[in-house]
Subunit: 359 residues, 2 copies
């Protein structure tokens, strides 16, 4: 990491930008170069409160950030309805784009963003932090092990939290003009990504939303779920909610093994994250018990997952500076996630009818 750190510009002072700002400062190959907000005072306060380096530029508005020739990459935590405009403008100014999830209001919008990134040769990545935790790689090893896990048959995932009255009244994630995808876009995004991750990113054939979604008065989804179905018979289910106590589960069941993780989105503890596996389980004589007891694997990490995400993103930018092409994996994963999310939304709108996922 002897190269010049990648210089980030941050668009807006969203709450989540506090965590990612810290991550940029923790990542060895990244630095905060600028932040822009509609209010100079708000941006200055944000920079001071979050320990930005004294050199960090404070801009009024987002345009000034993407116009700054010293900004290499932008982090975009704006409301989803603004992603299309600002991600495209940033790409056109040759800024690499780290985009909060949900990446867009729909796959058509996302395609415009991805085309802008591709035609301008900039890296795109969505800000799905858990993908970058070393635990995720360890769990993927287990899932791909023919002896320990076998063939995947079923997956269940949930991401729920009790958002509380202030959030349910005021947060952008319950406002139809800001984050129209509500809990599906916020929490459901993670479940869908988790399921796709577990099936090695094979798109399902159909999705069917669970009857009984919750909506606010403006029609924004506050909780929902879905089943996903693949041609080979694999089945997945998920549930996401702003109205339910915390759960962050992925439970893939294979012919030979079982994996469980209960804090996949945000590890309960920053430096050590567990998952639980059992393989080739069997009932004991007279079925008086079962063996083996699932084993706990605790994966430690010096850097939190969001800093590892920034490091990975900045590393790809470093490679591009040295002549490589942008890494295509990340936009592909974003697009698949968005496609399934769109299909769940359509299923809800059609009264929980099955919807084909068409690439």
């Amino acid at each position: 990491m002897a190269e010049t750190p990648v210089r980030f510009g941050i668009l807006g002072c969203a709450n989540i930008a506090r965590k990612v700002s810290r991550a940029i400062m923790l990542a060895p190959n990244a630095t905060i170069h600028a932040i822009g907000s509609r209010s100079l005072e708000k941006a200055s306060r944000f920079a001071a409160e979050n320990g930005f380096p004294p050199s960090a530029k404070i801009y009024v508005g987002y345009e000034a950030v993407i116009d700054d020739p010293d900004v290499d990459a932008v982090y975009v935590p704006l409301p989803t309805s603004l992603h299309l405009k600002w991600a495209v403008l940033a790409a056109e100014k040759k800024k690499h784009v780290l985009l909060e999830k949900p990446v867009a209001l729909n796959a058509t919008e996302l395609d415009t963003i991805l085309e802008a990134c591709e035609s301008n040769g900039v890296q795109f990545m969505d800000s799905t932090m858990w993908m970058h935790h070393p635990r995720t790689a360890k769990m993927a090893e287990f899932l791909s092990d023919a002896q320990r896990f076998g063939k995947l048959k079923s997956i269940h995932s949930s991401f729920t939290y009790d958002a509380g009255p202030d959030f349910l009244k005021n947060d952008i994630r319950v406002k139809p003009d800001l984050d129209a995808l509500g809990a599906l876009g916020d929490a459901g995004w993670y479940c869908i990504r988790a399921i796709l991750w577990a099936v090695n990113y094979e798109l399902p054939k159909t999705v069917t939303a669970l009857p009984g979604a919750d909506f606010n008065e403006a029609g924004v989804i506050l909780s929902c779920g879905s089943t996903l179905h693949w041609a080979d018979g694999k089945a997945a289910t998920f549930y996401c909610s702003f109205l339910t106590n915390l759960s962050m589960d992925i439970i893939p069941l294979g012919t030979k093994g079982t994996l469980r993780v209960h804090d996949f989105v945000v590890p309960l503890q920053e430096k050590v994250a567990p998952f639980y596996v059992s393989s080739n389980s069997r009932f004991m004589e007279l079925a008086l018990g079962c063996e083996p007891i699932p084993g706990e694997h605790a994966v430690t990490t010096e850097l939190p997952q969001e800093a590892l995400m920034v490091r990975e993103f900045a590393g790809l930018i470093g490679s591009i500076k040295s002549g490589s092409k942008p890494e295509k994996k990340w936009p592909i994963l974003s697009r698949k996630t968005q496609m399934v999310l769109d299909a769940v939304k359509v299923s809800i709108e059609r009264g929980f009818k099955p919807v084909e996922v068409v690439n």
Copy 2:
């Protein structure tokens, strides 16, 4: 328990009868009085191998067992297709009926059995052992706690095991003329009961089977799943299979609390069984972690759950001998479970369409 122990007659030498025979011998208020089998040699061997008391009668055929005036109650582990005939005959001979699950091929058959039990004043109970583990009562306390769990929003359950090639070729549970309900009747029964238990036995409004069930060549279900939906928006999903490594999960999510249990059907260890709860969880500052870490509750039991089941059943019989009426709770739970099971089966047969659960 100074009363005379309840004297059980066992119909047949099914594998599961070994476990329940041990339970009858462990229960302080029960004893084995007789066993009947189509083969005298088989019944004699079964009695010897399972440590039956020397006084135990060995009969050829099931009729001799229910004709024995000293038999108070029968345990019926016969293939499901034989339940209707033998449970009804036993009830007509005033024998109390402990019936293996699935209790019948459908709710209509079950109604005939239950009518026979009711009109003959005998106790009916299905052999769903985990209902009787003290852990189950402890978990129910948590679910009914408005402060720690709140209102139930979603439940997921699974019971899967890798049955293996010999089972998949020869076991009664894959034979259409013996246990036509396959994995749904065997493993799915537990998931459905778990879900009903978690919602305080309120029947769902509709069920919709997950696309992608597995069948054997004779059309018997080897794996399947379903969603369940209540009028108030509660959502449940389950997955059951003979083709997947062991999982035995119930995960109810409430507005204020989360419960997880991973060995609800057969505790991994006989004398101590854990479950995991968290309440009023929250993200820490910057969402760098979450509190609280879910707490483990380990529930110990001197008697295994199947012996507690026998003790409960025998206790009810003791009360009936003293003039009480049969306890209506157990037939009601069996019937609700069977009704949901029937609806899932119909949904599968109709190509995974929603099916109303009509009482």
